[in-house]
């Protein structure tokens, strides 16, 4: 009987410090939150509002034009080409990069002697800046550049192309460069996932008679699902936002054939003085990325279960 009052008196004392701690935490968060609102939220919202104006980057008083700029996106042939190219690049990069990275990771997760060297070599392009990568490949893809010279040297001269000067090959040249630069990044994530799979599970599957393909599909793939989710997500977002490599290698040419939404945002806002239109494209890209990411995340999360 003497214990009960003690317990009652202790209980509130435990809760009070907790509430105080919670309040204290918010005070710690406030400066960072205020800075975030000032540096990210406010400029983003105000920048987005430009999409509803006709500001030319110079005139002191832009006009409010409602949804006109978004309507122009649907009728502007350059914008439509940019949207098509962006989706093509994002899809192609996501598929090619992840399939190749997974195959490379599976190969380098084996006991081959040079696996460490190969891992470094394949990952190396990731640490090079995209601008440098763009200039490097611009030279390699030049009509008298390294790619055509190499093809000539190995007797495949008939495959020589005007890689960046032909609209049909220019867009795929960009895809190749993005793949080359980031396949190592995806590979490392897959390798980390593969190394987290217990050997015992694979051995048990092998003892049960599962061949390599069956082991991959029924054991490795499900256990690798989180790595697949993050890789597909990152490559898709990266593909949708692609700017540096295109800007350096082709500036969106020839004839606008390699423009992406990001290069169009830049050229419209900062070269053509169409800030309103550029902001509308930026808002549209943001929505693209958000929607694609949510759908993809949901689908892959379902698979993970």
């Amino acid at each position: 009987m003497a214990i009960a009052p003690t317990v009652r008196s202790l209980a509130p004392r435990k809760r009070r410090p907790y509430r105080g701690f919670a309040h204290t935490v918010w005070w710690f968060v406030l400066p960072a939150a205020a800075f975030y609102v000032f540096a990210v939220v406010y400029p983003s919202v105000r920048g987005s509002l430009l999409a509803f104006t006709d500001w030319d980057g110079i005139s002191p008083n832009p006009n409010w034009v409602g949804l006109d700029q978004f309507g122009r996106i649907l009728t502007d042939p350059n914008a439509l080409t940019g949207v098509r190219n962006t989706l093509l690049i994002a899809f192609a990069v996501t598929v090619i990069q992840n399939v190749a990275a997974l195959l490379i990771a599976l190969a380098l997760n084996s006991r081959i002697r040079t696996r460490n060297i190969l891992r470094v070599v394949i990952f190396a392009p990731v640490v090079i800046t995209s601008i440098a990568v763009g200039f490097l490949w611009q030279n390699l893809f030049a009509p008298a550049g390294g790619i055509n010279e190499a093809l000539e040297t190995v007797g495949l001269g008939f495959l020589q192309q005007n890689w960046l000067g032909n609209p049909d090959t220019a867009i795929w040249s960009v895809v190749i460069v993005v793949f080359w630069q980031f396949v190592g990044y995806s590979m490392v994530i897959f390798l980390a996932g593969l190394q987290g799979i217990p050997h015992e599970v694979l051995e048990a599957a092998a003892i049960d008679g599962a061949g390599p393909i069956r082991r991959f599909w029924s054991v490795v793939r499900p256990l690798l699902a989180p790595a697949i989710t993050i890789n597909v997500m990152l490559s898709l977002i990266g593909g949708l936002k692609l700017f540096d490599q295109v800007f350096v290698m082709t500036k969106g040419g020839p004839g606008g054939a390699t423009n992406t939404i990001s290069t169009l945002i830049y050229s419209n806002a900062f070269t053509l003085g169409r800030f309103g239109f550029g902001a509308a494209l930026a808002v549209m890209l943001t929505i693209f990325v958000a929607v694609a990411s949510i759908i993809q995340y949901r689908l892959l999360a379902l698979q993970e279960r």
Binding site: I58, N162, P254, G255, I265, F270, A279
Partner: protein, 423 residues
């Protein structure tokens, strides 16, 4: 309609889109330097060999003044200076372009009154009405430009001699030179078809004779709606360009060739010549083997040599930030830049063709072939300087790339240009 503050727009866009990088920009100021000097800030082109000597000479002439120069590379300079002017934190003196066509061209900046009027300066009297029209607007002079840019055909003299040719004076001779070059394993004219290449200038050279030469009032008629790209000699410009492409006059796979490669072809004699802007001669000569010399000639567009016009336009120069707190000193700097002393520094160090008379000046050997005509009446301004908005220029650049590559027709390109012009 609801109005939105342009200043906040500029700040917000620069941050939200994350592309302008204006945070490191200089401040227009009249503050004191370390030693109590008055500080004048100037933003100009990176790699301009005349900037430093000009500033040293200006400081020497103005004791107590320190000039802080910010060198900005092209094309980033276009967005940076534009954003800084709109945001109100640009340098006292800024690099600008004549006419229209880019974000720091004076006609574009005039819409926001971002540049101070320089029409009271003595040097303004050296320029004719056509020049003044692209140096400002509404009777105001908004920039000083100390050099003319010429678009000649630049030839590698030794390469020409090696194939037994001389600079052509008619369009038929141009096509004949193309055949001669090909039969000698060379190309007649180097062409860079990637962004920033010389491909627009071939059309400008043809335009000078075929459009301006045939109708000097074309620009005015187009501005008043009485003429258009589609219904003009621009069709002939593009048909002759196509004729040259089809005749193999240009670098193979030009649409994938960079400007460095194209200039290198002329420097090494793999190409006999190149049609491009005159300041490039210095870079080509620097890349050429020792002993290589270059000559220039007007690029013909008809079979009558006397009809050939030469494209000559004012180059980039300096304007004064209207919000500068040091406006008188800023104007003094531009006056010095445009003075005989400033011009002498420029002609000595940059091999430019001065836009005003300079005592004792003789053009460099490489420009001798066009110097006399550049001073006469048989010249034409660059068409992009009078186009009403930057979209026309971008449409021209993109469309011409596609035209050279065979992805669009002359009719489609000219229709696109009309649409952009009237848009």
């Amino acid at each position: 309609m609801r109005k939105v503050s342009a200043v906040s727009c500029a700040v917000v866009v620069a941050t939200a889109l994350g592309l302008a990088g204006c945070s490191a920009g200089p401040q227009a100021n009249s503050g004191g330097g370390e030693d109590g000097d008055t500080v004048l800030t100037v933003s100009g082109f990176a790699g301009d060999p005349t900037a430093e000597p000009l500033i040293e000479a200006f400081e020497e002439e103005n004791p107590g003044v320190t000039v802080e120069f910010t060198a900005l590379p092209f094309p980033g300079i276009l967005t940076q200076i534009n954003t800084e002017l709109v945001s109100g934190n640009a340098s006292d003196v800024v690099a600008v372009f004549p006419g229209n066509g880019n974000p720091i061209a004076v006609h574009a900046l005039a819409k926001g009154d971002y540049l101070a009027d320089l029409s009271g300066s003595d040097w303004v009297g050296n320029y004719n009405d056509a020049n003044k029209a692209v140096m400002g607007t509404d009777g105001e002079i908004l920039m000083g430009a100390n050099a003319f840019t010429i678009i000649p055909a630049i030839y590698n003299t030794q390469a020409l001699e090696a194939v037994g040719a001389t600079p052509p004076t008619t369009f038929s001779e141009v096509l004949a030179l193309c055949d001669t070059a090909k039969s000698n394993g060379k190309v007649a004219y180097a062409l860079a078809g990637v962004a920033g290449g010389n491909y627009p200038y071939v059309a400008y050279a043809l335009y000078a004779t075929l459009v301006h030469g045939a109708n000097p009032d074309f620009v005015a008629e187009q501005a008043s709606g009485d003429a258009s790209f589609s219904d003009s000699e621009w069709t002939t410009v593009l048909s002759k360009y196509r004729e040259m492409v089809d005749a193999g006059c240009f670098t193979a796979d030009a649409t994938g060739t960079s400007v460095d490669v194209a200039q290198g072809q002329v420097a090494k004699g793999e190409a006999l010549g190149i049609v491009t802007v005159s300041p490039v001669i210095t870079a080509i000569a620097d890349a050429a083997p020792e002993g290589t010399t270059f000559q220039t000639a007007p690029f013909p567009a008809t079979d009558d040599a006397s009809e050939t016009f030469l494209p000559v336009g004012l180059g980039a120069g300096y304007g004064v930030n209207a919000k500068s707190k040091n406006i008188d000193l800023a104007k003094k700097f531009v006056d010095f830049y445009m003075s005989d002393a400033g011009l002498k520094i420029a002609v000595e160090l940059a091999s430019i063709y001065p836009s005003a008379p300079v005592e004792g000046y003789t053009p460099p050997e490489s420009l001798a072939g066009v110097a006399e005509q550049a001073q006469g009446d048989q010249t034409a301004s660059f068409p992009d300087q009078t186009w009403p908005n930057a979209v026309v220029n971008q449409t021209y650049l993109d469309g011409l790339q596609a035209f050279i590559g065979g992805q669009t027709t002359a009719e489609d390109l000219l229709a696109q240009l009309d649409s952009a012009y009237n848009g």
